[in-house]
């Protein structure tokens, strides 16, 4: 796959964060016990053999850099190619629903110019799926289209992401329309997966053709030129999880407890790569009351845990009880505390006897604490 390079756009927000993305960009949101959202987009590229990836970073880029470092864990600390940080534009973007702002790329056009690869694959970072892009590229070449958009066939929820885009496709798999998903609850649709593939030179042409219209989004340009362009599609077969709010973050997390989702995302040939931390194995006390949970390393579990996602280094003391919760790294749940339907952000200490219950389907968030 030396003939394709990747760009991951991390320069956009979650609209309904409730504290989860107060101190961190969406891309750096912890997920699944040890990952961050961007791990999925990045691993999909790396596992497909892509060895040059540009990452468009938002204004709060430190959590992203802290996480990916040199890209060592993704085999992107290379002499040729590797990981390139592309600082995104900073002003005004939050007024728009941009995910692929033209100026984020314009600002970093040298990255596209100096590479020799034939194709570029551009991805967002808020969807959870595990895919080999090799087949997507083959399909793109065979169908001889200008651009291929990936989509997932699904039924829309009532509470939909305002940034969601649905595709209208003709009998030949060609896109006829890119629409907003709002007001289409309950309908089966082809949901745009925030991933598309096109020729590098074609992308450069698009950019040069819109030099003074920096506020545009790449999707706007597709919309405007839909009749002149051959826009093909590729349907994602496996699990596809969208995260655009606290509720969907919680739902997607809990779906990881289903064996089929677990197998598909984590135990197939393509592993999700993430930063390595040196933690000891997790120690379970004699309580016998952990079940139906994902637990990362370095934890000490003596209390009762069920239906939960426990990140690394969490301590659950005896007689504490955690049900349907997400507990982020290095939290301590003291003796006798009871949590239900709660998302506990990093470094929190839940005092003995505390009882916190969120509603089913609408978890409470306990915001990130300063590390002690």
């Amino acid at each position: 796959m030396g003939k394709i390079i990747g760009i991951i756009s991390c320069n956009y927000l979650m609209k309904n964060p409730e504290g989860l993305t107060r101190d961190r960009p969406l891309a750096a949101l912890p997920f699944g016990g040890r990952y961050r959202l961007l791990d999925f987009a990045l691993s999909n590229m790396v596992n497909s053999g892509i060895r040059t990836v540009g990452m468009v970073t938002p204004y709060h880029y430190r959590p992203i850099l802290d996480h990916i470092g040199a890209g060592k864990e993704w085999y992107l600390d290379r002499k040729t190619g590797g990981l390139f940080i592309l600082p995104g534009a900073t002003h005004g973007i939050y007024f728009k629903n941009n995910k692929f702002a033209l100026r984020d790329i314009t600002k970093n056009i040298e990255f596209l110019e100096k590479e020799k690869a034939e194709y570029v694959i551009i991805s967002g970072c808020s969807n959870i799926f595990n895919i080999d892009y090799t087949n997507v590229l083959r399909n793109h070449e065979e169908t001889k289209v200008d651009i291929t958009l990936l989509y997932k066939e699904l039924i829309l929820n009532a509470d939909e992401d305002p940034q969601g885009v649905i595709l209208e496709i003709d009998a030949y798999g060609r896109v006829q329309k890119l629409e907003s998903n709002q007001g289409k609850e309950g309908q089966g649709t082809k949901y745009f997966a925030d991933v598309f593939i096109l020729k590098r030179t074609f992308l450069l042409d698009i950019i040069k053709g819109h030099q003074n219209m920096e506020n545009l989004d790449l999707l706007d340009i597709l919309r405007e030129n839909i009749s002149q362009l051959k826009i093909g599609t590729y349907s994602i077969a496996g699990y596809f999880g969208r995260i655009y709010s606290k509720q969907t973050y919680f739902q997607r997390s809990m779906e990881l407890l289903q064996p089929s989702v677990q197998n598909e995302l984590f135990l197939g040939e393509h592993r999700v790569l993430t930063r390595i931390k040196d933690n000891p194995p997790t120690k379970y006390g004699p309580s016998n009351v952990i079940r139906d949970s994902l637990v990362s390393s370095g934890c000490i579990i003596k209390g009762c845990v069920s239906g939960s996602i426990i990140f690394r280094g969490v301590v659950v003391e005896a007689e504490a009880s955690i049900t349907n919760c997400i507990v982020l790294q290095k939290c301590v749940i003291k003796k006798g505390a009871m949590l239900e339907n709660v998302i506990v952000d990093k470094y929190n200490i839940i005092n003995p006897g505390t009882v916190i219950k969120g509603q089913e389907g609408d978890p409470l968030v306990i915001k990130k604490s300063r590390m002690v």
Partner: protein, 415 residues
Amino acid sequence: MKSIYKKEWIAMLLAGGQGSRLGCLTQDIAKPALSFGGKYRIIDFSLSNCVNSNIDTVGVLTQYKPSLLNSYIGIGSAWDLDNANGGLHVLPPFVGQEGGRWYKGTANAIYENIDFINFYNPKYVLIISGDHIYNMDYEAMLAYHKEKNADLTISVLEVPWEEASRFGIITANGEDQIIKFMEKPVQPDSNLASMGIYIFTWSVLRKALIEDEGKSESENDFGKNVLPMLLAQGKKLFTYRFQGYWQDVGTIESYYESNMELLKEQPCFDIIDSNRPIFSNGEILPPQYIRPKARINNCLVGNGCTILGEIKNSVVASGVYVGEGAKVEESILLPNAKIMNNAKVYKAIIGEYAKVGANCSIGNSGKSARQAEITVIEGNSILTEDSLNNEKKSCFLQFRCYLKDKKWRVKSWGK
């Protein structure tokens, strides 16, 4: 050729041993590469001690089946030892102008690498082995060595008198100067055991190695030959008393016991000490996945495990699978072992990538944990009900069980 960076000290880590008393656990790998404590390999402890003691140059001497070890340690990045002005270097035996020479003994292994040490031209050389479990500050020992102006300092540990004859026993005077050294004495007159950790002043060591190499009758071993020689020459040898936990996991029993030690409420050895962390070179695995019917009771569990059954008082390493209805007790499951549905594993060590088939039963569960033998299943073995009940039936299987009565029960039917 000399490094422009003269080093105060460097470490030489002896990692060539087979560990033959570990039987089939070290059939295909050197002892330092053996998995330990759910996510580590034994060499992690020595290497982490080095980096936590601010040593930046380590020579790792390999000899026995080094392939997994080589891949595991690489250039030492996992221990922050990938440093251009020093760093970690693997030193296997090699072929020179006069043909190839295997390492004859511990002292000979260092002798053959005198050029390596000369390159860094250190004042002191720390010699350690890669097969002990402990957490130690070598810097404090070096400070002691310098304070005593010693030629050689040996780290020692008090052992119970009744076990003293299993060790190299040191007798020291009131100033901690060594006056006698005996390898495995029948009648020990001290209970100070050598931990096999030496700090030598390099000039003294170099001379001693050359001298010892010249003696045709020498086994070129530190304990048997070099130490007695230095003592006889009146060199200044001192003991350095170590207080913490130190375990030579040289036998199946000690390997088993020191793993089990980690399960205690207050283990003697704390792998969670964040001031002197144990580094390891791990794969990126997903979190452990505990299914609804799983039962976990007093266990240490690594990443990437999927537990559907019941595990109790066990150390379960990364990537292990325990199927539905399966029951694991008082056992050590090495990385990527698979215990299939309804299998029973009792007081056993299941090797890496070994698979205990559905309904198989391993280990003598009739006795209490204290009394029962330890069953060892060799790595990569595939056990099925058929292979256990009727050995003749299947001809593609291979496994061995090691029993506590020191007898090998070998079950091997071709390849």
